[in-house]
Symmetry: C2
Subunit: 462 residues, 2 copies
């Protein structure tokens, strides 16, 4: 039975224990982030020494509050946390975020166990300790102590590293990928990755999940939650090397486990393991912005032979197929190419290709029932017309909405040039992922194929 | 006996056969690029119908020119090329670039063989056919028909794909990596990769070589040229998959050969195989800007535990070692860390690390004889101070020039944030490669280690 996290993510009342007037204190930043959110809820700063903080009436202790409390954020020295937790239990608080650090991550297992005993058998959800908290972009609530605003969108991020979690917000923002929620799980005393995966699988605001994990507490529960999940789950598992595992142990105090076992288990469960957070977001934006591929047969279009070949190599290495063109598609493309060039897959549109060649060729491949996804690429070989390249792709994305046979993913690749860097924003904002690397494009297409396969299994078609 | 290419790259006289007044013609663009170069040489446009082109006196045919000709660029229809080549031989032209396409790359082997017969036994160097020509940034001569100006620097690029070659100029420009020369080898009728590797190995302006190849004509010569080369040679070999090889065959008309054999042979010869052109330039800028690593023991510094762990993983997967800190180094770093945190390798400087922590820790690792290279990383975890991060690195790079023990490579990694995107330019312009990906940083460090090993072999130390 997984945790009910509705009041955790959408609390009607929040108390911040350790709220402070000092702007350098975490308890100050946490309270401020909630205020900045302009989220509708009751808010209670707790600090016995203050009358009010940031204009909000302050309480000496939790028991002074008359109403019920959905969520308590705790930011006090570690040794005082057990006392606060006892107060939370007495007050029948539903959810707690222990921001404070100084527990198992520095070897203080005893103190962490003390808290575990306090909540044992009690109906309370505890996040942390040693966590940044969460940012719920869907509902506009920032229950973390770190500054950083994600765009609102449909990727949920679960991170065992707080700093990296914030870094991922910036990564996502740069790529115009929106997040639904981002949460730091810290030492995972209670709320664990599997609880969150299960919650996000029912969250209508979440379409894709991305996890950064260093260690899993309950492998079986973790894998089962991925298996039962009706959405793509992307996993970066760090600490795969001995030296990395040693560092992970000192970072979050947990053992890392065998890398091969993780890889096999994640795959078996239907998740997708990513090499690093760059790949995680490459895949996330593909999955968030594009339909899944119904098979692994990919059509490749470029204006440079070499670029097409490198894309082909990268696709094939990743288990995708670049089939020969059907007679019908060959004829369609043959009509639009310069005389000396013959159609192939990858299609070489020649260096000076503009809107028309890109559009007609993308259309021909989308119409081909033997093609499951299309990669459209441009290299600035001296003649490139970036806005015609992106314009043609955007037109086909618009038409895709009208034609059933067009419901195939389109990804883009570009090589070189500041002219491109500006123009690629057009594609990113329209949800068409564009990558400055052939490898990254192929990996993203792989994720769309794997998602297509996952859905087939889910529907019992496979 | 390799070709002497001195007059090829530094001609005192150039003729452009097929020069044209029409700006859409390649013969026009080629002439214009030479003029734009402001390179000191005699220049002869050849066109029987014109008196002058772009203000330069025009000649009807090569034999009308009285002086000797070091280099002829040919841009006429393929079927006329043999006739022009005969004229070149009669005129005792030293070097020819056949820009024209329509030869083996479209299956017209007969026409290419005709040219081969014409130059057989003649002392003449022929580049192409089907080539963009070259850009000699060292001497400021653009003998190509494509627009695109590389920064002057010390990376020589050899590309079998013209469009990709130009794309690589833009890639290099964006990263502030300068090129010495960039050349398209086209169908490699005569001048081949091995001739160029040998030439660049003696070129004082070239420090690193990067090759994009789809097929090698003479495997033994190619590998020997890498083996004999006294500089790092980076190789992207495309057409590794069956579908990719099929596409390569139709791109340059040559067979691709077994991928595994290429990998093994390149490694055996002492070259470094790169996965794609992104990796090629990642490694090229490391090799161009940083000293090689004398061993594979890497120290990692970050302000986010997760980032340090991912860097560690990526290094170890690539054969690098992340050794435990020596007692001395541990003590040095322990003094500057916040109380709760203990030094490790990777070193976690904690999210709010500023100039001092970064500087002192980088210094401690550079001073440690058990560390051969340093990676300094920053993630924007809400508290990052990008300019302090880059400032500390730049200071250590300056000090490196003064201290013998500091002569170790420093690479940087960053995650997230527009604030970083601006500030990383400071590092790039100072020759400190900074990568937005843990994997790419580790691969670049690997290339510095491999270069250190290559130099040891060269000196007979290994």
């Amino acid at each position: 039975m997984k945790k009910n996290l509705d009041t955790f993510f959408k609390p009607k009342s929040i108390a911040v224990v350790g709220a402070s007037k000092m702007s350098t204190k975490i308890g100050h930043a946490a309270l401020k982030n909630i205020l900045i959110s302009e989220y509708e809820c009751k808010l209670y700063p707790i600090n016995p020494k203050e009358k009010q903080i940031l204009g909000v009436k302050c309480y000496a202790k939790l028991s002074d509050i008359t109403g019920s409390i959905d969520l308590v954020l705790i930011s006090v020295p570690a040794m005082i946390v057990p006392q606060i937790m006892n107060e939370c239990v007495q007050k029948k608080v539903k959810n707690v975020i222990i921001i404070s650090s100084g527990f198992s991550e520095i070897g203080n297992y005893e103190l962490e166990n003390e808290i575990r005993k306090i909540v044992d058998g009690v109906k309370i959800n505890v996040l942390g300790p040693n966590t940044m908290g969460y940012k719920n972009a869907s509902d506009g609530l920032d229950a973390s102590f770190v500054f950083g605003n994600p765009r609102k969108g449909n990727v949920a991020v679960i991170s065992q590293s707080g700093a990296l979690g914030i870094g991922m917000i910036y990564l996502a923002n740069n790529e115009f990928v929106g997040l639904s929620k981002i949460i730091g799980v810290g030492n995972k005393l209670d709320i664990d990755d599997d609880d969150l995966i299960t919650y996000f699988s029912r969250d209508p605001e979440t379409k894709v999940m991305g996890l950064y994990i260093e260690a899993v507490k309950d492998g079986r529960e973790f894998m089962n939650s991925i298996k039962d999940c009706n959405k793509p789950v992307l996993v970066v598992k760090a600490g795969i090397s001995e030296a990395g595992a040693r560092a992970a142990a000192s970072h979050t105090g947990s053992m890392a486990g065998s890398d091969d076992i993780y890889s096999a288990a994640i795959k078996q469960a239907g998740g997708i393991r990513c090499r690093d957070i760059v790949e995680l977001f490459d895949m996330a934006r593909a999955l968030a912005g594009q339909p899944p591929a119904q098979g692994n047969r990919i059509g490749i279009i470029s204006n440079g032979g070499g670029l097409g070949i490198m894309l082909t190599d990268a696709c094939v290495v990743n288990g995708l197929k670049i089939p020969k063109l059907s007679k019908k598609t060959y004829n369609k493309i043959d009509r639009i190419l310069p005389d000396l060039v013959k159609p192939n897959n990858p299609v070489d549109l020649v260096a000076d290709a503009g809107f028309y060649r890109y559009e007609a060729c993308t259309r021909a491949l989308l119409e081909d029932p033997g093609i499951d996804g299309v990669i459209v690429a441009s290299v600035h070989g001296g003649y490139a017309r970036p806005s015609e390249f992106t314009g043609a792709i955007l037109k086909m994305v618009r038409e895709r909405k009208l034609h059933e046979e067009f419901k195939k993913p389109i990804l883009a690749t570009w090589v070189g040039g500041k002219e491109f860097e500006d123009i690629v924003l057009d594609l990113k904002t329209a949800g068409v992922p564009i990558y400055p690397s052939t490898w990254r494009t192929a990996r993203a297409m792989l994720s769309l194929y794997l998602e297509g396969e996952r859905i087939k299994r889910e529907k019992g078609l496979d």
